[in-house]
Symmetry: C2
Subunit: 284 residues, 2 copies
């Protein structure tokens, strides 16, 4: 397990932590200001969200700017939902998935994060959509392989099972990966989504499929289903133990990306948020 107390070599920022802070939103930092501030504070990577760019923007230049500042693009969020109440129709899913893969390639991002969406409308049960998900992922993984893009399927907390993801545990996500059998399909492990899982170590034993790792915390008395994630150290997740499992059991050695959806942190100045991230990262 790596030592985070004296180096930020493994530290990355997911821009969701700043409330997708972009011109006209939040404190209105430009992409350049974001990159400058992250580099200055010692971050080693940035993960962007697609909604922060216009649809036809070529992202080569963004990727180059990040690398020019000594960092890498740790990821791009996210695929369209495949199923559940928020999913578009299947053809739109496939088209948008291809576009997301192209954008990931342009950015030279480490991976594209995949969220599946919830239980397909009109069906019942957590596994009802798994066949559909596997077929969409198989096709997308093949397309992504052509440009060397990796796909990171992220299991979400079971409270999102109905609408945002019917893949709710690391075991679920690894089962899907096994069924699809594509080299470039792996998983993203997020502290917020998995902290409660007493079977995490058993599920990750023997896998090399962790493509991405996200830091944050679970507040003991969480108040909101979406926007009340905690800064590392403020909650009840045993982050060093989860990181031990991800690194020592699953062999993950990539960036640890801070991703916090929080009304509270979004109301703070982004520079202060970044400084807090750096400080708290040391105790992870």
């Amino acid at each position: 397990m790596r030592d985070f107390s004296s180096s930020t070599q493994a530290l990355a920022l997911n821009t969701a932590t700043l409330g997708h802070n972009m011109p006209g939103k939040g404190f209105g930092w430009s992409t350049e200001a974001l990159i400058d501030n992250c580099a200055e504070l010692g971050f080693s990577g940035i993960t962007f969200w697609r909604q922060e760019f216009s649809q036809h923007q070529n992202l080569d230049s963004v990727g180059r700017a990040v690398r020019g500042a000594g960092m890498s693009v740790s990821g791009l969020c996210r695929s369209p939902f495949f199923c559940g109440p928020f999913a578009p129709d299947v053809q739109q899913v496939k088209d948008d998935f291809k576009l997301a893969i192209d954008q990931t390639a342009e950015l030279q991002a480490e991976c594209l994060v995949i969220l599946t969406g919830g239980v397909p409308t009109g069906t019942k049960g957590i596994t009802a959509g798994w066949g559909l998900i596997e077929s969409i992922l198989a096709e997308a993984a093949e397309y992504a392989a052509q440009s060397g893009v990796k796909l990171a399927l992220e299991p979400l907390h079971p409270m999102y099972g109905g609408d945002r993801s019917c893949i709710v545990t690391v075991k679920d996500a690894l089962t899907i990966c096994e069924h699809v059998g594509a080299k470039n399909l792996g998983i993203a492990v997020d502290v917020y989504h998995v902290w409660w899982d007493s079977q995490l170590e058993a599920s990750l034993k023997g896998t090399d499929k962790v493509f991405s790792f996200h830091l944050c915390d679970w507040l003991a008395e969480t108040k909101d289903l979406l926007l009340d994630r905690g800064m590392m150290g403020d909650g009840v997740a045993d982050i060093p133990e989860i990181r031990r499992i991800v690194e020592d059991v699953a062999g993950y050695q990539g960036l640890s990306e801070i991703e916090i959806f929080s009304e509270y942190w979004w109301s703070q100045h982004p520079r202060k948020v970044l400084e807090t991230c750096v400080e708290r990262f040391k105790g992870c």
Copy 2:
């Protein structure tokens, strides 16, 4: 698996479904009115909450009234929280737990429902409190055995891991039962808390520890952490499949108790709620 379509022999009501409807609360039904309405509509059992009674009320007469109407007392909710932000100090926990066991015996209720509370304050990780929980349960189970009371440990949905229960899966609960090793300690399985668990059947294989089973549904786009449970049929839980597992895999043949915490259903007239319960029960 039993046929629920033509008989309410297995149907019970958890009074939480009526918003703990008692004199001065909700629509203000008396215990007698509650019992009469349930009996009239064909319910076979009622589970009460302790807060619906005054602390020194002898509950013998309540139990007798329920049985006199041809029903049984399917359960009593609940033990004090042992740990987490809402738990009293350890001595208070032990005293109140004994009182709850005495009340269960007075009612001749099928079981006392156990909620453990969340991660102990000042600790981290979902299993940090398990040792404490096991020692409190071992002592309580011994005391409960003297009056023939059964304890049903209820795993809650992982979204309650921080504050209401650090036992968040059926597997977690069965692990605790195994460690404690008391004959009168089993588990309660609630559709709302377990519907998302793809490992439910594997976890319940070979056990005879299901002491209680609760019906409700998970709404696809659930809006609230506490008070947005669905009526059976309105959500995405595969209830017949869960019931198949509980009955055919774990051998449960007791009452199926409807427990719905919902602002919506609490705003409806209790008679209408009960009628809807009876109707929807047939499709479970």
